[in-house]
Symmetry: C4
Subunit: 321 residues, 4 copies
């Protein structure tokens, strides 16, 4: 007797959902935060991964961590040196125990950073041996600390500016969903690709399901990115936006998840950028104002004008906000 | 006269085997260890490749290697300094030879790490020259050591959690082989791809041959990986699992080799993950319990529940274990 | 009532323009500067991104920045040390205030670079504490500075030489646009790809529009790049160059934008190279002279001959310059 | 009147030649040296590119360069310090000028490496200022030197072993050209791809032309590479090897250029490997002996047996050597 029943064709899962799944999230919540991170908490397992966690923590935490570690390490070594005996060190005088301890603390700092002024120096065997170990440890630890510092500083980030709003505007003979991005830097990103997925809620018998649709774009790729790029999804009958009234749109609670990727010449690596527009970020019947002009044989790109939208006469169209 | 005979079409080799080849391994052995490494030993040639070997050795070995090298290098330099003569150094006193040697040993450590307290310092020409060389050597060697330390620390690793078991469960109108993975970290991997290959033994006249089959998946790729992902192979007539009884399955000794790859945003690099499930890791007629819920507008992902399986009523199906 | 009107097929934007857009630039201006950078200025937003800006600034600016920062940091710490009191330091003598300040300035430099001679050393608590902090800061800052220095030095750059001129020459039974490139280094780039886009102006009713056309190449890729490679666009009826007289060409103000990419084995990374030829760089009816010959079983590539062009008898053809 | 003549279809250049071109090299010379580098010399232009040149030079040259630079830099600074005056330094005694100069030389070394013992230390303003500059310079220069050292050490190299000989052997019902490769390391390379191009000479009227042909392989890719891989080109009527006698083969002077690429998990990067077999490396009617066996549930791969070939009875076939 056969264990597994048959089926004629393996059913393909819908790949439009980008990996979010259809059951996720109550109405009104976003999938992606505005900064591109997921709207998800993780529990139940220790997910501390030293490298990634330190590289991704805020700068203030990182600096506090470095400083805290430095003070703590010196404190521990000062205790060890003190246990060996302050008299085992040249330059630690006949002062109070407090001052002796402070001297050993600063001696530790001078050893850990390999400054080694030498006005305090180890005399006895164990003092010298421990100081040697601390110097080794210092070199290794500062290698990690400075490597992490540099990794944070040089981490590939795309410098792409997104327009604050997305528009639904006349385009050719129909309408289109569009937003624009600009390259913050000159001479930077090549082979830029955009992918836009619309997520929305569909009610059936009082239960909400999240639907996904990869919006076809008028252009999905540019080879060079010298100025701004308006990314356009023309709304045709296949589009989930097709024929929707303003009320219908509000009910759908659409979220437009944007993935941008390209090769950054400075980092010599691919960089990725995520963002999302929700219903509240939509402007209907608007038009982006031009953001560059010619001057002295150069093109001048005005990055501060990326959000400027001219609202067209709303003939027969209800603006969604 | 012609040297090489003809053939009508170049026969294509079966590429399902991933590169393992069909003759490999006696019954019951795995191709891949649970940690994703190959079940292979290499002999007959010196395969020490300094960078890779040091980067891949366990942390304990690495730290012992660093420490051992440090002590050895100081020992060698102490001998050379001693041969030049302890009297060629300021601060090496009229003590026993043992203490003089210890002083030179610690002087070497202070030079190698560039601490250079200076309470011991070279006086004569050869002492100074050798100390200069040691300082140069120290800078170079610690550059290697700390570079290796950081390379180990920052080595791109995917942080993907695999469910302990793989399931064979009802799926649509048929059955499917499935397992699930979760992203241990928030905001990390994009464009994740999965590839699952089944390897099994086929007996013919008492001789075992290993067969391979790339299992078609209901979905091979997700763009974003915010939560968990259940990877599903629907069992249809083309599947080597189709119509197999529990006894047949046990005889086949199936091994499911999993390759996962994706782009990690923290490392800004592609990361790869390998794993494998054997017959013993299979659960029949089970169903993964949900591992996330909604709370305060967030999705909470419970990573410790990834292994939780609800065993369904085994109507008419023999569980393989 | 429906909000968005329909359209039968989403109109695809022309992707020949590489991302430059059709409205850009007045006649006679170039899109790409000769060094491959965009002819664009950015305004209106602070686009300082520390890593990229420092990595891309000229070497002279970089060295001045390093030196300036070093002097400034020492000056600031010297002031702080002076405020704590010169008498808190061993080795700062009974000199003029000026000399005391200079001593503290140099002490700061010795601390920041972790040289730490020790002829000046901190005595009091606050002097020692501040010196410890400076040593920590010094290690961190020099990690950034040296990391940036090395990042600049090791930044992947393709070493591709472009011929000074592009030619329009007889090719098979017709004509072709061609230029040549050479690999400056032995054993370097593999899987080299070329992409050539022609941009030109078209006048209609006194208004200029920029047109773009991706020129089909006789060969778009080489696997190995041992010598030079002549990149050829055969001019057929689909080419915007087809049937143009010299005067027509001059009016079109063509610019040929070149993108080259390949994998550099030394950097173990993909490298990219951009360049552009304008109308002024065109030579009509020329022919590149061979730039290599055989000697002692080697091929000798003469890189200085890359620009050498033999002008053919201009039968019936007006040269565009 | 039209400038450029027409052609119906742009003729595609043959892309089988990998980029070598058809005119290259006299009979008997190889295109690729055995180590995978090109058999090409470059002249006529200064092709020194600091990073690549230093990373690719032999280790002995690199170490001499470092040492030479260190000695030279110290020599230059010693001269500058000497010009400022030995009396501007503490610890430079009333010795001969020679000894004073040596003291300043070693002081420079102690400053450059930031050891800074302090038994010699700058006293005057200019001495202190120059020493500060040298310390800054030392930190920067050693950053470059150690970065280069580590870049050399950690440079991604594939560790692939090629069999010494390539074989032409019976395969299915015909013959095949084959060679084998092995992975020197455990757990290393994935998605390995092979590309084999045959280059040979064809005489016509006493003039030799080099022809190229990309050999179709029975398998072009393996996903995992746990053991060895025999790369097979089955010889059918389209193959340039088809029906060739031994004498014909010798006249053709075939060279088989091999490109291997794959993703190395340790380096987390793609690695590439080039090699070539010439006529002299061919063995006819041989068969590779197996190079692994089973033991204790492991597969043991004997890397030293990669070259072992069993020569079959040469029935009716002239061996080409």
């Amino acid at each position: 007797m056969s264990l597994f029943k048959s089926r004629n064709r393996p059913p393909q899962e819908d790949s439009n959902d980008l990996g979010f799944g259809s059951k996720l999230n109550a109405p009104g919540e976003r999938l992606l935060n505005q900064d591109g991170s997921f709207n998800v908490l993780r529990t139940g397992r220790w997910t501390w991964t030293p490298y990634q966690s330190i590289v991704e923590m805020p700068w203030s935490s990182f600096l506090m961590l470095m400083l805290g570690f430095y003070v703590l390490a010196n404190f521990v070594f000062a205790i060890l040196f003190y246990l060996i005996g302050p008299d085992q060190f040249n330059g630690v005088g006949e002062d109070s125990e407090m001052i002796k301890f402070a001297d050993l603390f600063f001696f530790s700092a001078q050893t850990l950073t390999t400054v080694g002024y030498g006005h305090i120096s180890p005399r006895g065997f164990w003092a010298s041996a421990l100081a040697s170990m601390e110097a080794l440890l210092g070199v290794m630890i500062f290698a990690l600390a400075t490597g992490l510092l540099f990794a944070r500083f040089s981490r590939p980030k795309s410098r792409i500016l997104f327009s604050k709003n997305a528009l639904i505007s006349p385009y050719h003979e129909g309408y289109a969903f569009m937003f624009r991005i600009a390259n913050l830097r000159n001479n930077s990103i090549i082979n830029l690709e955009a992918k836009v997925t619309m997520a929305w809620l569909e009610e059936s018998h009082g239960k909400y399901t999240r639907k996904f649709f990869a919006l076809p774009l008028a252009r999905e790729k540019v080879n060079l990115f010298p100025l701004n790029w308006t990314i356009v999804h023309p709304i045709d009958e296949n589009s989930p936006l097709y024929g929707k009234t303003n009320e219908a749109l509000e009910k759908m609670q659409p979220e437009f998840v944007i993935l941008i990727s390209g090769y950054d010449e400075t980092f010599a690596q691919n960089v990725h950028s995520k963002s999302s527009y929700t219903y509240k970020d939509l402007i209907c019947n608007g038009k982006f104002k031009p953001m560059y002009y010619e001057e002295d044989g150069h093109t001048v790109l005005q990055l501060d004008r990326i959000d400027e939208v001219e609202v067209l006469a709303a003939e027969n169209v209800a603006l969604p906000k």
